[in-house]
Symmetry: C2
Subunit: 139 residues, 2 copies
């Protein structure tokens, strides 16, 4: 661990986290259930980030309880995956800088499509605490 | 709901649950973290089932706390998914009947490969309580 408390992401996990990947985010919902939804994840050093509309159940959930887990599979072989357990923080995506960077970097577009630019966005940063990367065969 | 207490799976969700699908299973781990791992899911009426080796962290977790959530994406479009929140029960897969059925039905094999037939297996049945099927665009 470095001074930030983030757990370093091992080299073999970094391969699974190249570019933008689909990860499955688990949160503890206010109703006591677990929530699991897909998010588009990018690695930045030893943290993972994703964009979300601010007014979503997952953001409300992780503001209340920041413990989250992301499972990111290899798109070509889902028996390979990395499971990152950690804590999330939420920051406003001021002027939509982050989501528009995603659009430029990964979608070849100047601005993120699919919604009005007046929609409020947040940047969620996941600080890894424990990382596991087993290989399974059908569970 | 029928007498079993299972929430009926709507028709549009059944399309995403045809055959064997990869689902991302969230459990509450004993260490307080959330676990998320891929499992191969099959629908049987209004329940979902998967096979697991008996001696896994996910099985230990859901024996302790049976509240689980499965997120099953459309493999061709991960912005389409069904999120099933419910409770799981665990039964011994006596004589490996279930996992060998999976091998015959979905792998074209007489017996499940990848492991010794002496490995103990369980059948996990997820009883849906709440089902949601939003459509997202990049979260």
């Amino acid at each position: 661990m470095d001074d930030s408390g983030d757990t370093p992401i091992p080299e073999r996990a970094r391969e699974l986290l190249a570019g933008m990947r689909i990860g499955y985010l688990a949160t503890s919902r206010r109703d006591g259930d677990l929530g699991v939804v897909p998010v588009g994840v990018v690695r930045d050093g030893d943290v993972l980030r994703f964009s979300s509309q601010a007014a979503t159940e997952k953001v409300r959930s992780l503001r209340r309880d920041p413990r989250v887990t992301l499972c990111v599979p290899d798109p070509g072989d889902v028996t390979r995956y990395v499971e990152v357990r950690g804590v999330a923080d939420v920051a406003d995506d001021v002027d939509r800088v982050f989501v528009n960077w995603i659009a430029r970097e990964f979608m070849g577009l100047d601005e993120y499509p699919h919604e009005s630019p007046t929609v409020r966005r947040v940047v969620v940063t996941v600080h890894p605490r424990r990382i596991s990367m087993p290989r399974v065969h059908g569970g």
